[in-house]
């Protein structure tokens, strides 16, 4: 039978290695160090079309992740999508901030981009961002392109 201290050493190493592996997964693989839900405030914005935006999509400003999309609802009175976001408390945005739905890369995931304005007052908990720009829908874009091409062609003749 193995000596008691050797046994303890091996089991101790095993447990430490297992917890270490979990920590590695949390820190290196997961986004544990990212935005936490605890210290954040929520903002909402209405979009005519959100395209493929999903809950938990990032909210970025100048390319930096400042929060996450916390929920998407459909407003049945105005017929728009109401997107709520939770923003890290560390970041403040002026009242005239504009929100647009952008795509990372050509086929990447969609995220919300915030662009700060010049207002001196900041957006507070639960307020709505008034200036919004909808997602680009590729079919509409192609449709517009074809329409304008057709119009050009019509002018020349």
């Amino acid at each position: 039978m193995m000596e008691r201290s050797t046994l303890d050493l091996w089991v101790g190493l095993f447990v430490v290695a297992g917890i270490g592996a979990l920590m590695v997964l949390a820190m290196k693989v997961g986004n544990m160090s990212g935005v936490s839900v605890g210290d954040s405030y929520s903002l909402t914005a209405n979009f005519e079309n959100i395209g493929g935006l999903k809950p938990r999509a990032p909210v970025k400003s100048a390319g930096v992740v400042v929060g996450r999309v916390s929920g998407i609802r459909f407003d049945n009175e105005k017929f728009v999508a109401t997107v709520s976001m939770s923003i890290d408390k560390a970041y403040k945005f002026p009242k005239d901030t504009s929100a647009s739905i952008l795509t990372s890369g050509l086929l990447g995931e969609q995220y919300i981009g915030l662009e700060g304005g010049g207002d001196t007052a900041n957006l507070a908990e639960g307020e709505r961002i008034k200036q919004t720009q909808s997602a680009m829908v590729i079919e509409k874009l192609i449709g517009q392109f074809l329409y304008s091409k057709a119009a050009e062609g019509g002018d020349k003749k």
């Binding site: 089991v11 095993f14 592996a21 997964l25 693989v29 997961g30 938990r56 990032p58």
Partner: protein, 264 residues
Amino acid sequence: MATHKGFSIRTIGSATIDGVLRLGYASRFLARTVMSSGTSFTRPRLVIRELYFTGVLSLIIIIVSGLFVGMVLGFQGYHTLQTYGSESALGVLVALSLVRELGPVVSALLFASRAGSAMTAEIGLMKATEQLSAMEMMAVDPISRVVAPRFWAGVISMPLLAAMFSAMGVFGGYLVGVVLIGVDEGSFWSQMQSAVDFREDILNGVIKSVVFGLAVTWISLFEGYDAPPTAEGVSGATTRTVVTSSLAILALDFLLTAFMFRGV
């Protein structure tokens, strides 16, 4: 003909009743194990000894298989992703498939065949050589002295082993993807970190492995405790442990995945 038909229906009936009886017996066995696990906590040395046999001795197989699974994922994932010009998503593919599915499932399958079969054989043989009865004669409860420490050792070591498997797999994917093939290191890690969520993915993986650890140790201990006290009986019980545990792991994995990741 009629008797023949009656016979076959009777077979189904008796098989069902046997199955239900066995399930009930197994549930009572589990309940008794949990109820009488006080000794395992007042004398942690018993659990530590079993942790050595189920956990530490399974390390080699878990680490080596994790590394190889990760490396294979790296090759195959790269092969498919480069067709669409999105090799940089290799990290996401490797990490998500490991943390969500392959880590918990493959390590539980290995655990069942490495540690589960050993547990069944050990307890079955203890029963066959009447060591368990001898304990009872000495007023030592074999469930709290032999079964419960092994149960807790299995439940504790399974999530740790699964975490190590996933971590080694990610490292293997990194070795093949970044070091060997030359995927950009920055995008490998950053895309992985932005796609893998701690609560949603990693914690759910841990929950999965805890459930698998519970199921595998329960099945192994019960099969050992229930084995007919013959050489044939013990060998049959060991085989049943591996088969039943593997099926239980895969079925539970389907159920848990359906609950956890539906529509995500």
